[in-house]
Symmetry: D2
Subunit: 145 residues, 4 copies
Amino acid sequence: MSAAQESFEWPVRVYVEDTDAGGIVFYANYLKFFERARTEWVRARGISLRSGLEEGISFVVHSLQMQYHQPAYLDDQLGITADLITVGRSYMVFRQQAWRQGDNTLLASGEVKVACVQLPAGRPRKFPEALKAVLQVPVTANHHQ
Amino acid sequence: MSAAQESFEWPVRVYVEDTDAGGIVFYANYLKFFERARTEWVRARGISLRSGLEEGISFVVHSLQMQYHQPAYLDDQLGITADLITVGRSYMVFRQQAWRQGDNTLLASGEVKVACVQLPAGRPRKFPEALKAVLQVPVTANHHQ
Amino acid sequence: MSAAQESFEWPVRVYVEDTDAGGIVFYANYLKFFERARTEWVRARGISLRSGLEEGISFVVHSLQMQYHQPAYLDDQLGITADLITVGRSYMVFRQQAWRQGDNTLLASGEVKVACVQLPAGRPRKFPEALKAVLQVPVTANHHQ
Amino acid sequence: MSAAQESFEWPVRVYVEDTDAGGIVFYANYLKFFERARTEWVRARGISLRSGLEEGISFVVHSLQMQYHQPAYLDDQLGITADLITVGRSYMVFRQQAWRQGDNTLLASGEVKVACVQLPAGRPRKFPEALKAVLQVPVTANHHQ
């Protein structure tokens, strides 16, 4: 696998919807791909975003930085990694990468700081206990479509 | 103006986000454009979608049909029309068109049936009185950016 | 499986990017899901959209109709079907459905007429021979993520 | 105006398409808004992205960083600023902000480094002369819809 051994990785196929008139994946769409991988990272730990929402608990991105290394094209099969690198009382920082699987090329990399908030006001809140518990446990998973 | 005299029309510029690797506007994005024009049609009648949402009133698309006549390209300035052609107890049908303003070309046309629903269950409900009142009154507006 | 035995079906997970402030999947996004299933239907027959693009051959949607039956929610696992129901000299008509796999509910259904065109002018053209050949051969495939 | 006097600013309305199930604008969509403002910044200097594309000249994002301060909601009227803060031989860095106009609140801010590339290979190239010329000239413009 392209990513480091311990990385969580989620497969993403590039469809027409993801591309733009430059013939490549539109830059904002990597944030969709990264968010899919973070969602599956959470799901792999048995946590449901939706049941969180039903209790008014949501996760919002606080800040991020991205580097775009190489473009992705229509039909590319990507692997999107998500590694939790820092955990605070109410936030997590993920390091994420997008790899093209055909030629093992790093396409984009970044760090995303996600805060736990209470709806509807959206104020920061402590992680729910269920999530806090699993954040201590490393889960290694490489899912392949 | 390209549309019939009585049509409500809203301007939409084509950005990179709207295009795909074929160099044209991705077909699903016309539904975004049509929805923007319907939202502005409603707003022009003094109705706020957001205050509706706060009362659990929402609008969902029941069905639609679309014809794609000519492609739109990056930087095109479009005019999106919305004409209310049928009103029921809990639904409205809009006829909508997308025109390119530079050469007065019809790009896409369709009909969209929108139902009023009560959240969270999403069951059909009568229009709120405020909306029902304005649905009787034709509003002609041509907004230009 | 929810769809008829012979249907091609492709799995789609609902992510935050697909939902809207009404708490459901935004209506335009079903067209993305349908397009993903058509793309995989073509790929399952050994045809690459991208190599088509490189020869200036593209596929554009000519027209469509959609019915929205029930909403889809965050985290839902969907199955998107694609059945070729008509083939012409330069067009195909697909019947497509979106099912929720948890409770076997039909969420949306539609028909999409896709035309083969020659870039950059975008004029209708005959199907390339490779595609024409496979269009005669039924391929039954149910892919699961 | 909310932004500093000299900033270029472009209006963006929040539609249903921009929101997510958390009731706020999805984080990736600010990159769409920022890109619209950069496009209009370029257009205000008489440069057409599309004619660039026709000559194989494109602009790709090299890197970016974003801070999300406050959420935006359905129907919000935003002002998106774009300020050129650095110009190199083949790249530009923009400082950008998203403001809500109703209560003059800063919602998001970031810096985006954009590189000029030659298609189809996508290698960095010098700015075309026409663009280089206008990059020296400050253009102050506040456009309102």
